[in-house]
Amino acid sequence: MISDIVNVIFCLGNCVLLVNLRRMRLEKCWFCSSTVYPGHGIQFVRNDAKIFRFCRSKCHKNFKMKRNPRKVKWTKAYRRLHRKDMTQDSTFEFERKRNRPERYDRNLAENTLKAIKKIDKIRSDRASDHIKNRLKTGKVQRQKEARKQLELGIHLVKAPLALDKIHLFVFQKSKSMCPKHRQKRISPWKTEIASAVPRLGIFVHQNLMHATRGLSYQEVFYVVSSGPEF
């Protein structure tokens, strides 16, 4: 860690500048708890000398509106309070605020940087696992409901045997203007499929290509697929 105040003397030609470099610290936004990087956001000093840091004007404006971050859904405070995000984990211990500046040690700095990367990965993995686990019960519930709905509404779904025979008709645009002959049905090309609907899309496409072979896009009027009642 770099020491608190480092005096750096720059020589610019004849001019000598004495510059105080303060230690840089990544703060947390008071409202949404995201990190405030240097050069971002506003700090508000209340009359009792309490400092509120905000990452952007959105948070600042919400604060001015006197909103409670624990009630605003998109803030970390709300999410932690309502157990949407991970609250307790050993990886949080590493990110405690330390007020004592450390003497600079190259090895220490190097190891710290490596550790930060690793700990970050572990923490984010655990956090996403937490959310995944939270959403698992909902998924199971939805599948159960879907199954129930299928049972109750099966009469709305076509019988599989009926779905087996799908007829594809390709109509060719006739060059004549006579409305009677405007659509000429090319040899109705039936296709039968043995199995279920989900694969229908791909299957139809391949057969469309067969059926419309030799026709330009202007000649194909439309293609109809239907069940046996056509």
């Binding site: 240097p38 050069g39 971002h40 956001g41 000093v45 209340r46 000398a49």
Partner: protein, 122 residues
């Protein structure tokens, strides 16, 4: 952005309570005063039976403003009120205590006595 007619709180124990800015010191047509600028003010409200009285003209230095203070490193600081500290002609504070957090800019402007008395320097 303090200008004539602006009321300011007093951030020290110099027995004045409220000041009204009369003039911004620095240039003949200077419009606004910010943190660290000296103003001439009249005392609008004072603690009774003290050396400083109401409608007395004094100089003060501005300690905090509601208008944001921008620093070169990108930090922006906003205070909750406009406040000043009563000073004499040399720049020494008349009171013995300062209340509230003080901005670092005052140290660069040679108000070292004020900065040393301050409970917190931002």
């Amino acid at each position: 952005m303090i200008q004539p007619q602006t009321h300011l709180n007093v951030a020290d124990n110099s027995r004045a309570r409220e000041l009204m800015c009369i003039r911004v010191i620095g240039a003949s047509n200077r419009r606004y005063a910010h943190i660290g600028d000296v103003i001439v003010a009249v005392i609008k409200e004072a603690v009774p039976n003290t050396p400083l009285e109401r409608s007395e003209v004094i100089t003060a230095v501005i300690i905090s403003t509601r208008k944001e203070l921008k620093r070169d490193n990108g930090m922006i600081i906003r205070y909750d009120d406009n406040a000043a500290v009563v000073i004499d002609q040399e720049g020494n504070p008349k009171g013995t205590q300062i209340f509230g957090a003080i901005a670092r800019e005052l140290r660069q402007l040679n108000f070292t006595k004020i900065v040393s008395l301050a409970p917190e320097v931002l």
